[in-house]
């Protein structure tokens, strides 16, 4: 008769990734490279915001971008054309998030010798990217007005892992009954320390606040 032996494991599937992410973060710290993990739902304005922000910062910081949002190189090409900086597309093969190992592979394809800041545009999704630490120094997300001011209540984990929430498409706020004060209140319920910056990426309004915040994070990281 065949018998069964049981071997206890008791290990979260996130445990290995958390270790990889911590190792990557340490390594980037010692190389003086700041990695920003930018997340949002699809179409919230990540690429538009990045182009405006990079153009404000590129004379002061050496920047590179990794695009994971969709499985074509549209965004990577768009960023390269609009800003002139180093930009690559990561092919996620339909995966709903990036993990630390995939992020490391992406970084291996960049020339990091003279880079201060790498921005990762994560897969457009508010669930899974929040669960997988990429090894970034900082997490930020974009919430756009048409998604509604109660989004922080529906996706609590995403809001609790982000140091910064950018609220984009403020130009359309009147058409969507978007309540900025309520939105800030909900964000702070999930994460009391989160910084909130309202912008309009289309016109560039408010983008300089995001750029200033980012520049300060990079300088602090390198000191």
């Amino acid at each position: 008769m065949e018998q069964i032996k049981i071997i206890e494991i008791k290990k979260s599937v996130f445990a290995e990734n958390d270790k990889d992410a911590d190792a990557l973060r340490q390594e980037l710290k010692s190389r003086g490279v700041f990695l920003l993990n930018l997340m949002s739902a699809p179409g919230s304005g990540k690429t538009t915001t990045l182009i405006k922000t990079i153009n404000l910062l590129k004379d002061m910081l050496r920047i590179a971008v990794m695009e994971a949002d969709i499985d074509s190189d549209v965004d990577a090409v768009k960023i390269k054309e609009a800003t002139g900086i180093q930009s690559i597309q990561l092919h996620t093969g339909g995966m709903c998030h990036l993990d630390a190992e995939m992020t490391r592979q992406g970084l291996d394809n960049l020339d990091l010798k003279d880079v201060d800041l790498v921005i990762l545009e994560n897969v457009g999704n508010l669930v899974c990217p929040a669960e997988f630490d990429t090894g970034s120094a900082c997490n930020a997300m974009i919430l756009s007005v048409p998604e509604g001011h109660d989004k922080p209540l529906k996706y609590p984990l995403m809001f609790s892992v982000c140091d910064l929430v950018v609220i984009n498409k403020m130009d359309v706020a009147p058409y969507f009954d978007f309540d900025l004060d309520k939105c800030k209140e909900y964000i702070h319920m999930r994460n009391p320390k989160a910084r909130v910056i309202p912008i309009c990426a289309k016109t560039g309004e408010g983008v300089e606040s995001f750029a200033e915040w980012l520049q300060k994070q990079v300088i602090d990281w390198k000191n």
């Binding site: 018998q3 071997i7 206890e8 494991i9 979260s12 339909g94 998030h97 669930v127 669960e131």
Partner: protein, 116 residues
Amino acid sequence: MHELGIVFYIIRDVKQAAESNNVSKVSAVVMNIGEVSTVVPEYLTDCWRWAADKEPLLKGSELKIIPVPAVTHCQDCGKEYETVRYGKTCPYCSSGNTFLLQGNEIEIKEIEVPNN
């Protein structure tokens, strides 16, 4: 694609555990899956069948799922309640000052190996 991704992480961890325990065949993997873990158990077992059968170590092995109910604790009144039913707001005192006690697990509990 979510569940398939998770299956690949499970396979990686099980392979690692098998190696450190000198195991060459696994007959079942037992998972604790939380009610609010974002994983759909039926999708997970479907993906498992497809991916595990490609691995000699795991060919034909079963993925057993133990569901873990989601429970939230209220820091203001100290009570516990069903997360899925009431969400972030405590049904006893209406406080939003609450946290998830259990229910987001995606955890490998144990593996079963033939003993012969």
